[in-house]
């Protein structure tokens, strides 16, 4: 049996070596490519590029692309919502215009607008020199933030009004959806983690939880007004993490800073002459919010990428053969439904974990000094 095993291994290795041999590497297909170019000029038949589709869906842009009708033929029409660009030109001052100005609508080519153009990374730059401009545009993510802001205000202001009108009665309607979440966060997350002073931090924790939860859910809806990858934008999660960092730092009491600089119960040679323990603790102070930021960003973005990749499978296989495309679509839709359920769980879970960890950090910042057994 060992002889057949080694023989199998030898054959496998030989096959791998032959397959990976650079002799078989692709030569650039010049003639085929030029033929494709002329075909493209006639039919605008763009090959389906899954990576491009996925990146387009998870990143920000200056217009909100809703759908493409007649894709792959000459009658391709993009339906998209152009968003306003607010730009401070270095010489011409503030300029406000719609992003649709950057596309010529007859020829569907990119064009310049008043000395500005959009480069290949979708940034607005000065056309002549390529310099950056101060760009405060309402992009897709900003617009989605505003939409979820309106949703949050609508939900919570109406629920608050219902509470003042119906004092002491059983919750009804939207109240019965919101109250269990709020009570859960207060009793299971804030109070055990922070202790007696939890009420100061509870508004922030509730806001963070519902902000992340509602934005995660909106990101799962495939069409306007959902589908913008808000919490998967690392700038947004970084701002949330920075807020947690500032609140933790500014509400840290003396015991908190003593724990960082002069951790009790640690041998003296870790603190002097080379202050290893304080350095480790300071790295921890910075890394804990950074980890919050990255965890949320990576979870949400990875979930969107996986769901989009499952859908792209249909089109990738469909390019080869329409029948295979239809067959794969059954499996792909099933997997995408499963992924969407998982994403629903992840939406709630990531909001909960962010809030829980934020409350734990606040709790450690305001904790009263209670370690009497470490005192000598």
């Amino acid at each position: 049996m060992m002889r057949t095993l080694t023989k199998f291994l030898q054959i496998t290795l030989l096959a791998l070596f032959l397959a990976a041999n650079p002799i078989f590497a692709d030569k650039p297909e010049e003639t085929v490519a030029s033929q494709n170019a002329t075909d493209e000029a006639h039919h605008e038949n763009k090959k389906f590029n899954a990576g491009e589709l996925i990146l387009e869906h998870v990143s920000d842009s200056h217009e909100w692309h809703v759908m493409t009708l007649g894709g792959g033929t000459e009658h391709e029409r993009h339906i998209s919502l152009p968003l306003p660009c607010i730009v401070k030109h270095p010489t011409q001052g503030w300029m406000v215009f719609l992003s649709s100005n950057f596309v010529n609508h007859e020829t569907h080519q990119e064009q310049e607008y008043e000395g500005l153009k959009m480069d290949e990374k979708q940034h607005i730059v000065v056309a002549a020199s390529g310099d950056k401009v101060l760009d405060l545009s309402i992009t897709k993510n900003v617009f989605a933030l505003l939409i979820s802001l309106i949703i949050m205000c609508a939900i919570f202001l109406s629920v608050a009004k219902t509470y003042t009108r119906r004092v002491g009665q059983a919750p009804t309607g939207l109240q019965s959806f919101v109250e269990p979440l709020i009570v859960f966060l207060r009793d299971e997350v804030a109070k055990p983690s922070i202790g007696p002073k939890y009420e100061r931090y509870l508004p922030f924790l509730l806001t963070i939880f519902f902000f992340i939860f509602i934005n995660n859910l909106m990101g799962l809806i495939p069409i306007l007004p959902g589908g913008a990858n808000v919490t998967g934008n690392i700038a947004i999660t970084m701002v949330l993490a920075l807020m947690v960092f500032f609140i933790t730092t500014f509400s840290g009491n003396k015991a908190y800073w003593i724990h960082i600089i002069n951790t009790p119960g640690v041998p003296w040679w870790l603190k002097f002459p080379v202050p290893l323990m304080p350095i480790i603790e300071l790295v921890g102070v910075v890394s804990k919010p950074l980890v919050l930021c990255l965890r949320l960003f990576a979870n949400i973005t990875a979930g969107h990428i996986i769901a989009l990749a499952f859908f792209s499978l249909i089109f990738i296989f469909g390019e080869a053969n329409a029948g295979v495309g239809y067959g794969v679509s059954v499996v792909s839709v099933a997997f995408t439904i499963f992924m969407n359920f998982l994403e629903l769980l992840v939406a709630f879970l990531q909001a909960y974990v962010f809030t829980l960890l934020a409350s734990l950090y606040f709790g450690s910042a305001v904790e009263e000094h209670a370690h009497h057994e470490d005192h000598h």
């Binding site: 990255l294 965890r295 990576a298 979870n299 879970l349 829980l356």
Partner: protein
């Protein structure tokens, strides 16, 4: 001739970098699977020993799983950076 060799080496480096990113992502998935598998296993054992605290155990298990998954996602983010940046 040396320019061609350098160009070919550059092209090879890009491919090796992408292969490395793919392998890294796979290793991250293995790490996450092992970690969360252990968490789930010990959670199930504890629930079997003491079924009345299964709610507590479930919440703690989910929190620990989210934290372990966070570590795996750092590796994923680095691999995505290699692939797309």
């Amino acid at each position: 001739m040396t320019t061609l060799m350098m160009l070919l080496q550059e092209a090879g480096n890009m491919a090796i970098a992408k292969a490395g990113a793919g392998i890294g992502a796979g290793l991250a998935a293995i790490g996450a699977g092992m970690g969360i598998g252990r968490i789930g296993g010990s959670a199930l054992e504890s629930i079997a020993r003491q079924p009345e605290v299964s709610g507590d155990i479930r919440s703690n298990m989910i929190v620990a799983a989210a934290l372990v998954e966070g570590a795996a996602f750092f590796a994923i983010v680095v691999c995505l950076l290699v692939l797309f940046v």
